[in-house]
Subunit: 264 residues, 2 copies
């Protein structure tokens, strides 16, 4: 079992649809569990609840910012179908709903796509790319996630003026990508708006991920970008291609620009 699988595992409590979990401090940024990491835990619980192999579409509204400690995922199956089954799944901690999600599940395709609008972007090889962050930031998650940013798109040491970041993603334990680690990949890079000189904690309000295919082994190639920043809000969409160049995940989030973390 990979380190990621172990640290994002859920334990069925009983017949009530509740799953116990522990949010690991190893997948946090500045003490707060990463949003993609918590989403992978929620998706695992939803898939177990409906008895499905893979998440297909995961929509999450981040109500509060949970801490790195015990939590539970409360699930409710709302439809069991031939091709798609769906569940509600909410991460609870300290007697409050923290992240509310809807998860549609099924079986991801593994063959080549019939049609793709554009190929995976070009990036310099991983060894010519740079890990994120500076000494100013606590970046616990990067002990687990090996992220390599194309230097031409990196907001460190200086913002680029273009809110696009291209990066390689794999797990430090070298376990191969799966649909759950794709949920981490879409939200692992620094906020795109760092490249517009808007540094600071950028809380996600909503994040939806579409899973499009079972990733083949190897590095994931990722691109995140922003269409508009307005009145303190920005969107951030990420695309993930596997080692064969197939699009395997698409995400979009609505987030707030550069706030400091605060107590709920």
């Amino acid at each position: 079992m990979s380190v990621f699988s172990a640290e994002s595992a859920v334990q069925r409590r009983d017949d009530s649809g509740v799953y116990d979990t522990a949010l690991s401090e190893r997948w946090a940024i500045g003490g707060k569990p990463n949003g993609g990491y918590t989403l992978s835990i929620i998706a695992r619980a939803a898939c177990e609840a409906v008895g499905a192999e893979h998440p297909l579409a995961v929509s999450a509204h981040y109500l509060r910012a949970p801490g790195s400690s015990a939590a539970e995922v409360r699930t409710e199956v709302v439809r069991s179908g031939r091709r798609v089954s769906s569940a509600r799944a909410t991460l609870w901690q300290n007697d409050k709903p923290q992240i509310d999600a809807l998860v549609s599940t099924g079986r991801l395709p593994s063959g080549p796509p019939e049609w793709m609008s554009r190929p995976a972007p070009d990036l310099p090889p991983p060894e010519e790319c740079v890990p994120p962050g500076t000494e100013k930031f606590q970046l616990e998650i990067f002990d687990r996630v090996d992220l390599r940013i194309d230097p031409a798109t990196s907001p460190f040491p200086k913002f680029t003026g273009d809110p696009t970041i291209r990066y390689w993603f794999r797990l430090h334990d070298l376990s191969e990508p799966d649909p759950f680690s794709l949920l981490v990949a879409v939200d692992a890079a620094p906020p795109t708006v760092f490249n517009l000189q808007r540094y600071g904690w950028a809380p996600t309000v909503e994040l939806t991920v579409l899973l499009r295919g079972l990733p083949e082994p190897g590095w994931l190639r990722c691109e995140s970008t922003t269409r508009m920043m307005s009145d303190g809000w920005f969107d951030e969409e990420a695309s993930v291609w596997d080692a064969t160049g197939r699009l395997v995940a698409q995400s979009r989030q609505l987030a707030l620009v550069g706030e400091r973390p605060k107590k709920d």
Copy 2:
């Protein structure tokens, strides 16, 4: 009150968070209420439940295909905040959950954006664009929605080979756009995959809409496009700009290619 407001209205039943509504046959395609139209009803109920002015992010999983008849929206407020309040909202009909949604609400910005990645696309003027459909399709909704497709992108009379459709949108009663009609605008055009020669009913599994600004009066300029079609699945994302050229809505959906409607 506009025809749209009247036909997408919700009535608070009591203190239980339930809202009564009627899905109008006038906003249907082939007898089935349009997915953006039903989403506008769900969003209205959620905004009323939390006491907020505008939806900011609406994520919906389409479990079943409701009919054009009475329905109810069951809401539950999960967070009341200064800037964002959130609710769960589920459309029920015939004692079954039909569409499950999460809605984050607040107040939409009305000023100019600080940053936009690209301007609104060029389209020929509305009078040089064409309404959708052919005699083969029942298109009830187009008595309510005035949709004009750029002929260069129209899948009628012949598919183009590029799953991108650019269109103008306004309501036939000439009422001005609001955040709720934006939810209709993102899902009103023919499926993009018609342009890949994949005709037929394309059921939405998941649809998320980010509202980005209060639209100014006038025609909405829209573009829908697809990144990948694979194993019968396709994504469709729509962008909507108001008459001043500001991006006011972004959506993405996961849908199934060309199925015939069937009973649940």
